[in-house]
């Protein structure tokens, strides 16, 4: 079997290979939690990511582009987080002690994480998910559009409005 025909890890996992699936988890769990965390909180992010893996296991066989599995997975995780926030009507809890403080590279030019957290609390889960996928997971508008079933132009316009809102809020902070 040459490299061109050798199944990818995703394809092996899709065929029921648990070890390959574990490898996917090992590789992608962290970005999934990160994306979900921006939508919710620590506990919700863990729950969302685990739910996302359950969904992924069942749907891997329908994954059309295995090379884009990361986009697919973080989108599922962010979507799960959105659903959990809505269903539980959870509110973002400001728990600065949850994670280690990360110093800004240039305090004079950086946005304070506490301020950001406050601003995020005013956003809807859908909006937070968009921010997470774009700026935390690094998906471009085409990727986000594909994963969320929107148009790329729609993603860009919504992101643009979100950034404007956050700019006003954070610069007033």
């Amino acid at each position: 079997m040459d490299a061109a025909t050798e199944p990818t890890t995703a394809e092996r996992a899709a065929s029921g290979d648990e070890v390959a699936f574990a490898r996917l988890i090992d590789e992608h769990h962290e970005p999934m939690v990160r994306a979900a965390y921006v939508v919710g909180d620590v506990d919700l992010a863990r729950e969302a990511a685990q739910n996302a893996w359950t969904i992924a296991w069942k749907r891997l066989r329908s994954l059309r582009q295995p090379e884009r599995i990361r986009s697919w997975l973080v989108a599922i995780s962010a979507n799960e987080a959105r659903g959990l926030v809505r269903s539980a009507k959870r509110r973002q809890v400001i728990e600065i002690s949850d994670g280690p403080p990360v110093p800004a590279t240039d305090p004079a030019d950086s946005i304070d994480v506490v301020d950001l957290e406050g601003a995020l609390a005013h956003l809807k889960p859908d909006e937070r998910a968009l921010l997470a996928l774009r700026y935390v997971s690094g998906l471009d508008s085409t990727d986000i559009a594909e994963q969320l079933g929107m148009s790329a132009s729609g993603v860009r316009s919504r992101l643009s409005r979100l950034v404007d809102r956050l700019r006003k809020e954070l610069d007033d902070a």
Binding site: V19, A22, V42, W57, S87, K89, A145, E146, M150
Partner: protein
């Protein structure tokens, strides 16, 4: 003073710092095993090479020992083992002697999904209304299952589903639209493909509080234009879906009077929040039962349309609220069918605030996207390489009444015209897995 002109990079930096606070430690191997194990009980099968198959209880100890290894070491060992095992798998397949092909049914593999003709049958705290897919290829050319006269199929809902004691009956024996009974339709692969719903075809009874028993009173199986049983549409207004969002297992068992349980499997029901705006494929034509051709799998000649249009139902919205539109990306008018895509949009939505349904975290989301065009999602069409000239058009939205349950619902009807080359054209809606409609173009 922050840089006013460089906000986006600073926002991205802050979001990443914020996200990095989330602890993401995980025992990947244990989680994979847990998910796969849970899924296996629902019917998913291990690959041939899997060395610790749960079908063999004598190997359970090995499996336990395997999982007890240190996560990192186990993952490393297992990754190597997995590669070797994959080769073993291929070898096994390659050395399997060729046998004369014969028509065999795939194993029963139950999947529970939202009923296309229901607004919220899958949602938390709502009356249960779901479709149980039996793991069959839905292509009408592929035969489905047979239920011989006297044989039964039992469907058991988990205890978490709350019953109000409503009796069960075949649809023809009660007012289904009024929710007067628990009932079910034996489908053949598309929403209006049900077997006749009279007691001289099958009966529906409750056994205990949570088990539906469908018993054939004549042979129900493949016949001319009717592939056989592939799905069960369970309409259970006497049950309320659980309020907790998690997975529940629905059991389906085919039973023969002579042999007892022939085959059984469980499907996962993931009670979910209700999506306020949901476009589902269904069929506005009068329900015509088994003889009616599938609109999911159709044929057409090059440059022509298939016999039936594609109908989509827009749940949770009235016709005054919306204009559904089928849009085509500028890039989609190119010369190739590959990557041809567009969007279905909704405009404008009425100003409504979100509504929380009592006794459950079900949320309607109408109003969230008010005053702007809301894109319900993308579609794309795959076609033969090099094909040109295909098109899709939509009729104005029309309100229709579904005979199956009397629901009044806006319908978007899409007409597809095939391209100039023979082959399969596939219309994907949503993520590509939500709905697929196929047109095989013949010379």
């Amino acid at each position: 003073m922050p840089d006013q002109t460089n906000f986006e990079p600073r926002l991205a930096d802050a979001l990443r710092r914020y996200a990095n606070r989330a602890p993401a430690d995980i025992d990947a191997l244990a989680l994979a095993a847990e998910i796969a194990s849970a899924s296996t009980t629902e019917g998913r099968r291990h690959p041939r090479w899997w060395p610790f198959g749960s079908d063999d209880p004598t190997q359970e100890r090995s499996r336990t020992m395997f999982l007890a290894m240190g996560a990192t070491a186990a993952l490393s060992i297992a990754l190597v083992g997995g590669s070797l095992a994959l080769l073993v798998s291929n070898d096994t397949q390659d050395t399997t002697p060729a046998v004369t092909p014969e028509i065999t049914l795939p194993p029963l593999e139950v999947r529970v999904s939202k009923a296309n003709t229901s607004e919220d049958g899958y949602a938390l705290g709502q009356p249960t209304d779901v479709v149980l897919d039996l793991g069959m290829d839905l292509d009408p050319d592929v035969p489905g299952r047979t239920l011989r006269a006297g044989d039964s199929v039992r469907v058991t809902l988990p205890d978490e589903f709350v019953s109000n004691g409503l009796p069960a009956a075949v649809p023809s024996e009660c007012d289904v639209a009024a929710g007067a009974c628990n009932t079910g339709f034996l489908l053949q692969g598309w929403p209006d493909s049900y077997f006749p719903t009279t007691e001289d075809h099958y009966t529906v009874e409750m056994e205990g509080t949570h088990t539906f028993v469908f018993t054939a009173t004549q042979d129900l199986g493949p016949s001319e234009g009717a592939p056989g049983i592939k799905q069960i549409h369970l309409m259970a207004p006497g049950f309320t879906n659980p309020h907790v969002m998690t997975e529940y297992l629905v059991e389906v068992a085919f039973e023969s009077g002579a042999e007892g349980t022939v085959e059984a499997d469980t499907g996962s029901f993931v009670a979910s929040t209700r999506y306020g705006l949901d476009l589902t494929s269904a069929f506005g034509q009068p329900m015509q039962g088994a003889a009616h051709a599938s609109t999911i799998y159709q044929q057409a000649r090059a440059g022509e349309s298939p016999a039936s249009p594609w109908d989509f139902l827009m749940w949770d919205s009235g016709p005054d609220d919306l204009t559904l539109g089928l849009n085509v990306d500028g890039s989609a008018t190119g010369e190739s069918m590959q990557g041809w895509r567009g969007h279905i949009t909704l405009e404008p939505l009425r100003e409504l605030s979100g509504t929380v349904v009592p006794e459950g975290p079900t949320i309607l989301e109408r109003g969230v996207f008010a005053n702007e065009v809301y894109e319900l999602g993308g579609w794309w069409i795959e076609g033969p390489e090099g094909a040109v000239g295909a098109s899709v058009t939509a009729e104005p939205v029309e309100e229709v009444v579904l005979p199956i349950n009397g629901a009044t619902i806006p319908r978007l009807r899409i007409h597809f015209t095939a391209g100039d080359l023979p082959g399969r054209y596939t219309f994907h809606w949503g993520y590509g897995e939500k709905e697929k409609l196929f047109v095989d173009v013949v010379e």
